[in-house]
């Protein structure tokens, strides 16, 4: 290619790409009103409030903005209007800067503007945006069991400044709740091998539907074990894993279960009681 030909290449490839882009732009204008839904005057006012307070330079909407504060695309689906209003009036009632290392400054927004802002955020949450985010983006807490308390919250369990959601497991709780805690925190952790989701066999079988299955087993003609009721059956399974073996070469060999037989001495009798109480609830 000589210089003239490469110039032609530069010009025509630019023109071709621009033409395609402009056609798609026209089509986007045609489709966006349907995808984004109705814009009321209140939504428009809310958009202005959003801009006036420079919200986008900390937060993101549709994942666009700054990364210093949580994404708010679906916030009105996670938090009710009353909560959002109270939060915007004074964020420091909800989060502690010492614990979270950052805090939203108070904005002094008039109440009717707060209403408009929430209307705008609600409009955003209903925009058809190809289903993003694929999983809810939370502000605090977690969807993973065992991480419901953040590190900061766990280290401040005795602190009265702990945020409202922080409720660590305490001795006075229901035995079932305490048992669930033991299930996650015993050494080795029960969760390392057992899922409570149906059909999820890990190193150990799924415990989903445990009590129903056991009751059926206890009432059946082939049962020869010592335990006579659900609670004693579960207790025995914890302390003497080989007493009741789930069939299958991945769970036992020569009648000896692969499950550690150390729980009987490593857990206190109370902890075993709690664990039994919890596991009995898995129907």
């Amino acid at each position: 290619m000589n210089k003239r030909q490469t110039r032609q290449f530069a010009i025509w490839s630019t023109v071709a790409a621009s033409v395609v882009f402009l056609i798609l732009t026209l089509d986007t204008h045609r489709q966006v009103p349907v995808l984004t839904g109705e814009i009321t005057p209140e939504v428009t006012r809310g958009k202005d409030v959003w801009h006036e307070h420079n919200c986008i330079n900390c937060h993101t909407l549709f994942g666009e903005g700054a990364y210093y504060a949580p994404d708010l695309t679906k916030i009105t689906q996670h938090r009710g209007e009353a909560y959002l209003k109270a939060f915007i009036r004074d964020p420091s009632n909800f989060y502690d800067e010492q614990q979270h290392r950052r805090l939203m400054p108070k904005q002094d927004i008039p109440d009717e503007d707060i209403d408009a802002l929430i209307a705008f955020l609600d409009w955003v949450s209903k925009v058809d945006n190809q289903g993003w985010p694929p999983r809810p983006i939370l502000v605090t807490g977690a969807t993973i069991p065992g991480t419901a308390l953040s590190t900061a919250q766990l280290t401040h369990v005795d602190d009265h400044a702990a945020p409202p959601g922080a409720r660590p497991v305490a001795a006075g709780n229901d035995p079932i709740a305490l048992g669930e805690h033991v299930f996650r925190t015993a050494t080795p952790s029960c969760t390392a091998c057992h899922s409570i989701a149906p059909g999820v066999d890990m190193a150990g079988p799924s415990l989903s539907g445990l009590s129903g299955r056991t009751e059926q087993l206890l009432g059946g003609p082939d049962y020869k074990g010592a335990a006579t009721d659900l609670a004693s059956f579960i207790r025995e399974s914890i302390t003497e894993p080989s007493a009741h073996v789930t069939p299958g070469p991945m769970f036992s060999a020569n009648g000896v279960s692969f499950m550690p037989d150390t729980y009987g001495k490593d857990l206190t009798p109370e902890q075993i009681d709690q664990l039994v109480a919890y596991l009995s609830t898995l129907r």
Partner: protein, 457 residues
């Protein structure tokens, strides 16, 4: 310096240096806020420091582009500028616009529209400055009757940059539509016409510094421009993921964004092969460091790190996290900061008294500290981003809790940013420590100039 009027470039560069320094102050402040708690929470909150940080970037880079153009066009067209007076008026207007905008942001006087926060009067001043600038450059070239392909690409880029700013002047009822047009300005600037500007400067520098053959360099320059636009224009689609526009932008974005690195890899090969084959060794090795460094860092930051999160199936998870900051910092620095620093390094020996042509040792320290610092910052953003995506987006840990778990990466960010800032401070000191002096010399045309482009009417 062959033409007296090229001296206007010095004052543009000086303003660019001051604003660059300020940009880092606000960048470091913003980074420190990630470590928290923030003693300035109610005085200078994050949204303000971040707005100023990004706006100063745009203003200083544009100032650098204008200065570098005022330096380059007389050289290319072999004539004095049409009007130095217009150039100074434009500089003063632009400086006033920049300074008042920054002061305004401190008081939250801005549009609150990401990257386009400039209030309407300021936007209009920007347009006026661009028009003065294009008029002045256009008349200079017209007067000389000599219009090279390198200039053509540069001017095309600057003209389109002005046109693409126009959608930013309007307000849109629908938030999704305003996002749509934000990227007409920002994306088509940085991944379209600004790359034309960068490629124009790069071609100029490589022709001067390496003595590479002008015909060959300009031929490949056109190829690069073509590739930039094939991928860049439709690549805008990667900003249209998940914002409420039709779904066909997803596959288009995936495909054309994947092509974007082609032009950038081409640019890096172009720079490298030019210095490998050069017949003439220009003494200004420091400017050569910056020029080739710009091409290579662009390939890494804009090309590779852009590609890392541009496919819709990946972007679904990484969208709106520190991964974006990783790409943004490396891309902007490599493509635009470094090319301006290259032009400044090239021009400075003839704009100041007592400076060696080879570049000072402070200049080399500055180059390597900046490069190392920015590379470390990029890695800090990347590691923070990977942690964030995994904890927050994949596992579902809350945003605030995930941020606490990636604090160590923010410590790394602040350390690397400080190293970078030291490098920049050295560049600024090196810039100002020699007094300006505007003596013209009539040195013989370098080797590569003999095969000059034919004059066009």
């Amino acid at each position: 310096m062959r033409y007296r009027s090229q001296s206007v470039a010095y004052w543009y560069f000086a303003l660019a240096m001051i604003l660059f320094g300020l940009q880092l102050v606000f960048g470091l402040l913003s980074a420190a806020k990630y470590l928290g708690p923030d003693p300035l929470l109610n005085v200078l909150p994050f949204d303000v420091t971040k707005t100023i940080h990004t706006n100063l970037l745009i203003v200083w880079v544009l100032t650098g582009f204008m200065g570098a153009t005022y330096w380059m066009v007389p050289d290319e067209s072999r004539t004095e500028l049409y009007s130095t007076k217009l150039a100074y008026i434009q500089l003063i207007l632009f400086a006033l616009m920049g300074v008042t905008a920054i002061i305004g942001y401190l008081f939250r006087y801005g549009t609150g529209n990401k990257l386009l926060e400039q209030p309407l009067p300021h936007k209009l001043v920007i347009v006026v400055c661009m028009l003065i600038f294009l008029y002045n450059i256009g008349m200079t070239i017209r007067k000389s009757g000599r219009f090279t392909a390198t200039e053509g690409v540069l001017l095309g880029g600057l003209g389109l940059a002005a046109i693409l700013y126009l959608p930013a002047l309007l307000e849109y009822e629908n938030y999704t539509i305003s996002i749509f047009y934000r990227w007409w300005t920002i994306h088509l600037w940085v991944e379209g016409v600004w790359e034309m500007i960068q490629a124009g400067f790069l071609a100029y520098l490589l022709i001067r510094l390496s003595g590479a053959d002008r015909e060959v360099m300009e031929k490949w320059l056109y190829v690069i421009v073509g590739l930039v636009f094939i991928a860049g224009i439709l690549g805008t689609a990667h900003h249209y993921y998940w914002v409420g526009v039709p779904g066909y932008w997803l596959p288009i974005g995936g495909l054309f964004s994947a092509l974007e690195p082609v032009a950038l890899v081409g640019m890096a090969i172009y720079a490298y092969s030019a210095i490998r084959r050069s017949g003439l060794a220009h003494p200004n090795k420091l400017a050569l460091h910056w020029a080739v460094g710009s091409a290579v860092f662009t390939m890494f930051g804009a090309g590779l790190l852009g590609l890392a999160h541009t496919f819709p199936s990946i972007n679904k998870w990484t969208h709106g996290t520190m991964i974006t900051a990783m790409h943004g910092h490396a891309a902007f620095y490599g493509a635009y900061a470094m090319i301006v620093l290259a032009m400044i390094s090239f021009a400075m020996p003839s704009l100041t008294r007592g400076r060696t042509e080879e570049g000072t040792s402070l200049g080399y320290w500055s180059f390597w500290l900046q490069l190392g610092g920015m590379f470390g910052m990029t890695l800090a953003f990347a590691t923070a981003g990977i942690g964030q995506v995994y904890l927050e987006r994949v596992l579902g840990l809350g945003y605030l809790d995930a941020q606490l778990k990636i604090q160590v990466h923010f410590v790394m960010l602040v350390i690397c940013a400080s190293i970078f800032a030291v490098g920049v401070a050295m560049f600024i000191i090196d810039f100002f420590r020699y007094a300006p002096s505007f003596e013209t010399t009539r040195e013989p045309e370098p080797e590569g100039q003999r095969l000059a482009a034919a004059p066009r009417a």
